[in-house]
């Protein structure tokens, strides 16, 4: 039960129920659609870049609590950062889920709630999909898949 409680922490359940920045962004400067071909999860991430700063980040799509919470937290956490800072944060999340077990670095803040996912290998792709999609959007690619990277 404790692993399960680690996975579905209150903050994850809250972001799942009330996802932040869940909206279209007609004025976005770049966007990408990510999908997990194994489970059919889909997420669209939209970004408005002002110079090199992510002045707005939003998402839409359908997915499990883990991918929704990950996407929701990601939008809040990357807003106001530069593109390279956002990419670095994505790398830290990836390390937290896939790297050697360690205390989550302080930079990730609330995203540390995702660390419970590492005990559920089948679900790591769910948590990473929004981040792959954000990176694809920043790289000017239209699509991302959970099969890339990791």
């Amino acid at each position: 039960m404790s692993e399960l409680a680690d996975l579905y922490q209150e903050i994850i359940l809250d972001h799942n129920k009330r996802p932040r920045n869940y909206r279209e962004m007609p004025e976005c400067t770049c966007s990408a659609e990510g999908n997990n071909p194994l489970c059919g999860d889909e997420v669209k991430v939209s970004v408005r870049l002002d110079n090199d700063t992510l002045s707005d980040v939003a998402f839409q799509g359908q997915g499990c609590a883990i991918s929704r919470a990950s996407a929701s937290m990601m939008t809040g956490k990357t807003k106001g950062r530069t593109a390279s800072e956002a990419r670095a944060l994505s790398g830290q999340v990836r390390d937290m889920l896939l790297g050697p077990e360690a205390a989550p670095p302080p930079e990730v803040g609330d995203l540390a709630a995702l660390s419970g996912v590492r005990k559920f290998p089948a679900r790591i792709k769910c948590a990473m999909l929004p981040w792959h999609t954000l990176e694809a959007a920043l790289a000017g690619q239209a699509t991302a898949t959970s099969e890339s990277g990791d």
Partner: protein, 408 residues
Amino acid sequence: MANWDLQALRSDFPILGSSVNGRPLVYLDNAATSQKPSQVLEAVDRYYREQNGNIHRGVHYLSQVATDAYDRAREKVARFIGAPSPRDIVFVRGATEGINLVAHGLAKCWLKAGDEILLTRMEHHANIVPWQQAAEQSGARVVVADITPSGEIDLEDFTRKLGPLTKVVSFVHASNALGTINPAREVIRLAHEAGAVVLLDGCQSAPHFRVDVSVLDCDFFVFSGHKVCGPTGIGVLYGKKEWLERLPVYQTGGDMIGRVSFEQGTTFREAPEKFEAGTPDIAGAIGLGAAVDYLDATGFDAIEQAEQKLRDHVAPRLREIPGLKIYGDVEAKVPVLSFTMDGIHPHDIGTILDTDGIAVRAGHHCAQPLMKFYGIPGTARASFAFYNTTEEADALVASLRKISKIFA
């Protein structure tokens, strides 16, 4: 049912006694693959330990023993589905390969530009994509019959779309995603009246009730060994004799040839050998033979009664869970219960059930057009087999109630 000893039956399946995440395994993913009784495991093991030789080519003792065992498996499978002759049974890797073999062949020998291939919206991807490929190769067109909201072929729409251009009808006997059973005999009769050749996908019917291809009158029937308590990697394509003769070869190589010559060209053997190039899955076929023996000995009357009892037990308890919706919730179906819960994604349901040792499938069940029809990304699917217990069904219900609370 008089002699139904569930505990004795369960003890035939070693894996059912195992633990998952510290809980007794509750295996409710039988529509994905069934568990295997010792009788099947032992038949495969015995082949490798005592009978291992290649078939149809040696003069030596083991080759003959293996050949006899392989041929006997073909006879058993033919009897299992009511095929007129063992020669009508082609061993393939699984239902997917069976459908690919037929679609590939019909694209070459039967379908022409402008023809129509009639499928339904409730097909498994394995009964969609090979036909899209066949259409591309032949210039034919895939037409899709609608289904009813309760998850059965809409016969009115099917009849409307069936016409002189319809050359192939391919549809599912029992839905893997919903458990609903299609009126196969009626659909096959209509298709034949229109002049179409018919393939019936029996992956989810063969494990649950007696199939008789002679009564159904389908031209082709496919099922997978691993869903009927047999090994993975072996499946069955039944074809009417005239159609197996007519279909061109699929894969080519050893064992399927009459004579190979650089000067005079190559000739092929008759069906079924002409479709079984190379060394087949001999152990798999023998294991499948043992599996159909096991199901026959258990008896489909008893299997159907046991599964009906499980369904009658669990369905009303599932319906009582707030926000839970069962898809294809009809009276006559195989014991597959596909459901969603308001505000809870199927994957989260699947993960939490797994922590309680309960195995279900979550997702689109390789039936994305069907999920689109219902406007959902996927479902959680609990699929039962005759060896499941009402206590296991209760464990599912209790765990789902817990999930309801976590996400409340």
